[in-house]
Symmetry: D2
Subunit: 342 residues, 4 copies
């Protein structure tokens, strides 16, 4: 059916990127441009991440009407790490609703110099894109949503949600990464205990189980190709462009993209919002999920990280992308004469 | 010519809001809904502001193709106060360029709990939407742009810029407000001296003159109607929709809207970005400039303020507006079935 | 021998408090005065503490030449809690020396509003009188001092040190308190993990063992009488006035008293130093150890606590004591005509 | 009379330092030891300070019974700068009483990392030894004490108080320093305006006059010799040992010494209290006033400053002094066998 849908659209010449061939040529040019960048350091706090070849570099594009393009290492599995945060946030919004969720976690940037260990003035983590907030999201999924599920079922539930966002493309689990990260998680345990002291968790939360669940979400594995479909699902208001399944509610997507916009790129978030103006989320494995709302999802993957923990090639790609195309939120559609409207 | 332009468009039925009549009916309904709100307190730190009737309430709309609608107290002059900040920021970007300007002022939210007196980790004010940053912008305008101008010429220069943004509708100056605010400005003088100690100003800045200039910008006066045109100019990429003059460069507009989005509503900015998802700037006189990029500018004015210093009716209006229309940045254009696409 | 020593001194009329009878009469008057104070709340975070009768109130005095006085509930055992901090700090100074110890922990007040979770600018806990610093002291005792000891031997080692400070008067261990506190210790575990992340511990530290050791030190039990001897040992430069044993080195005593002076009374430390001007340490069980250097040690015990966590009657007693006698560090010995020189 | 007093004491061999000759020999040894230290930088923010020869080095001692010793540059005038803070604090305590004064200024260290611009949690400056607190002290002297005085009389009143503390030895005024510092005082003006915004001043304060008065106090001039008498007056409970005049009340002296102990050495105060354990106050001109309570006052002067703003040679002198003599507050008088009891 998807094919028919594509063909039908193609016949009517109504794709969101009318001249996709030329657009891909531009993407490829940026890809090669970034490929030669040598900076950054591969994350090394656990051996499983440290072993990644710094030369890996993949770019996958999926438009909201399902056109695909990819180049480079787009089928090599990597763990999603912090890119799980907007996805579990979307899931918990779907299941519990915005009001319930935001009783437990804020919705604002924390400010760059703000020590991560400090909660906001309501004694809540600042937002679900930082570790503290994502741990709370996991506790909500465990305690308030689907209480009937046991640990295994809940893990499967999340994994299937990620799969559905990816149109059933590859989503796996890297147990070695999970076990290693659980061992190397002093900061996260400190956060967990500090939040428990401050009564941040819903009652009946079991801290050990919540932490395990959090590390499991981070250790989900996917590929550049699959993640570009996830991004496209977000760009498309929650409907997967390849499977045409409604996976995330439109309201949840709005909230997810709002917080990716303001808080998705660690301490570089403010500058990224200013320079690139698109919602994105990066992870310590070098992955990066970029959303051009109503147009396309893009996944970038390259392990070397900059001082903020964002993929060096990923950041460069975004920067060159918005210089070339009118994708910045506040580019003017009519008068930005220097930029292409693809 | 503007009329011909409008008529020509009207003939072709190509307005950005095709059914403007129905849209205005909805705006009017929200207007009356907000009119009955009684909360908030009129700013009282100077008598000139304290005297405003809390019942004043005006809404003016101007689309990027120049369609206008207004209701309520839309021709009563009020001082722009902090709404001058995005305008002077736009001017200095036009004159000195982004790179030069951001050597002196940052581009990120400061974080809600962050004491305003503290500079960011580069010893710069966090962004041009807070007082410290706007004072720096004034010093750049005085010291680096148009060095040949004397004080009077520079004042006129800014006032004319505001006028051009407003398509030559009313922009005045309220000298009593200027004089009063200069007297009641301990916080701003503290900021000024603290920044001078930290060498935040360009060399040759004269602190007294900079402060005077800053207070003068805040004491510029306009009306709801005129300010809706300014907002529409920003929505339209810097081209005034009524005069069709290119006033602000497209790049400057992008930067201005980016920072209005993340930092325009005082300590409520993060929540506003999450809930409303549109660039806006409020002032202590109860004015509020709201931009729907590529679509329209809106000015809201009502003196009673909430605890953050934003107009109570203005905030309520924005909230109801995005509940009704798909204007939130991250509303999906195709699948937001509950919301109108005007 | 001690008796002979006392008798000999008595014969020579050379006691540090020449007229001890009158001095005790004054102490008794203050005791009864404080007894009627009804404010404060007994600590309730674990049931073992919550059960203490708020009417308990005991005062014990021991001079550096071994004269004793006590009144009230001076033989009821209570856990030392934070009063263990100066004692384990003294022990670790004795065993590792000041230089080694202060590579791991600072020696300054943290400032009242400073969030306890934050380390100082050298990434060390501010001082050994706060939880973070005392946990570090425990890790030093475990890892660097007497490495040959196993857990049981090390526990005994500390317990015997406390006993020797008390001239072999009662020092016990309350296992129920230990087990309860270990359960109710989110803040302390957060501190532990946060410090491990920041590499505050010596290598080879085992966090669980360190935390257990810390809670065991806090759960040591003693009486008002015994603790007044500990205080007198500190007042006497480390030589126990009853056993005449040299327990703590003179240099260690100086460091312990310095930090009790500036940091011993939680967030009230600054005001206590200003008003009372004597080194002291309080614990959440309502105990308080007060040192008049070169003169005497005093133990005060009464469970109800003020908002800072200090014993209400204990604080009142200290305040009345320095109003009556010239014990404040900066009382003038010659010209303080209003105060008694006992 | 003073001579008779001295002779009478000498006859009875009851001096506080019985063997003054040997004591002075030790002081001289330390003097020469410090003389060879070459580190530190002379303050350069105003030319009047920058011109001081870095080789200046003077030490003056005055015991509470009036014995004197001095060596080096002890008669060269220098401005007191921050050493005025404990003196004006003592004056305001004498005139208004502790309760009134501490309604406006706190009495605790601010914590080393605490930004100086921030007030404490009661919206008061942390203590009178920091600039903010000393400015408040000046405002209290201007507004609440001796309201009948005009500006000139008030200046004279303070200058005479300083003179009386110094037993009428040299106290002058350096007008060039006053004028320069007033010009170079961005931080202080920022503090002043920030405090005025926070309503820290008593009503009727005139900020300009307060600031002028503060700078005038800092620009008072004295010599090492004269300042050692001031220190001795503090050591002697407020009675000048040379003039035998009661200048400062005993209660005021206690408060002054308490805050010099905890807050007198800028950001090094905590470490100084730990290492040296004596009340002291330093100034940016390289002066340092050290008090051994009930024993003596010492003045040290040498312009080169360390990173904290304290005299390099002054700090070294104090450190060597307490290593040799049992002057540290928490040295044991009986058992400190390594140290001399002079």
């Amino acid at each position: 059916t998807s094919n028919i849908h594509l063909i039908s659209r193609a016949m009517r010449q109504r794709f969101v990127i009318p001249d996709f061939t030329n657009f891909c040529r531009d993407i490829e040019a940026i890809y090669w441009h970034c490929k030669s960048s040598a900076g950054g350091k591969v994350a090394s706090y656990i051996p499983q991440l440290a072993r990644y070849d710094p030369n890996f570099w993949g770019v996958s594009v999926c438009t909201v009407d399902g056109q695909r393009y990819c180049i480079g290492d787009v089928t090599v599995p990597f763990t999603v790490q912090s890119i799980s945060k907007p996805l579990t946030y979307g899931l918990v919004l779907d299941e519990l609703g915005e009001d319930m969720v935001h009783q437990y976690v804020g919705q604002e940037p924390s400010g760059r110099m703000f020590n991560e260990l400090v909660l906001d003035h309501n004694k809540k983590p600042h937002n679900p894109m930082i570790n503290a907030g994502a741990i709370i999201v996991c506790s909500l999924l465990q305690t308030l949503a689907h209480k009937e599920m046991n640990l295994a079922e809940r893990f499967d539930h999340v994994k299937q949600y990620f799969s559905r966002l990816a149109g059933d493309e590859y989503v796996g689990f890297n147990n070695a990464v999970f076990l290693s990260e659980r061992e190397a998680a002093d900061r996260n345990y400190a956060l967990g205990f500090y939040m428990r002291e401050n009564k941040c968790f819903p009652t009946k939360s079991n801290l050990r189980e919540v932490m395990d669940f959090y590390f499991q979400c981070c250790a989900m594995e996917t590929t550049c190709d699959a993640m570009s479909v996830m991004a496209a699902t977000l760009a498309n208001g929650g409907i997967c462009p390849t499977s045409e399944e409604k996976v995330m509610s439109t309201d949840s997507v709005r909230d997810v993209l709002s917080l990716m916009h303001s808080c998705g790129m660690y301490d570089y978030s403010g500058q990224f919002a200013f320079n690139v103006g698109l919602p994105a989320k990066s992870g310590v494995s070098g992955g990066m999920m970029l959303v051009v709302p109503n147009v396309m999802g893009i996944c970038l993957w390259s392990p070397p990280l900059d001082m903020y923990g964002n993929s060096v090639r990923g950041i460069q790609f975004c920067s060159e992308l918005v210089n070339m195309f009118n994708f910045h939120r506040y580019d003017n559609l009519k008068y930005s004469t220097d930029k292409k409207d693809p």
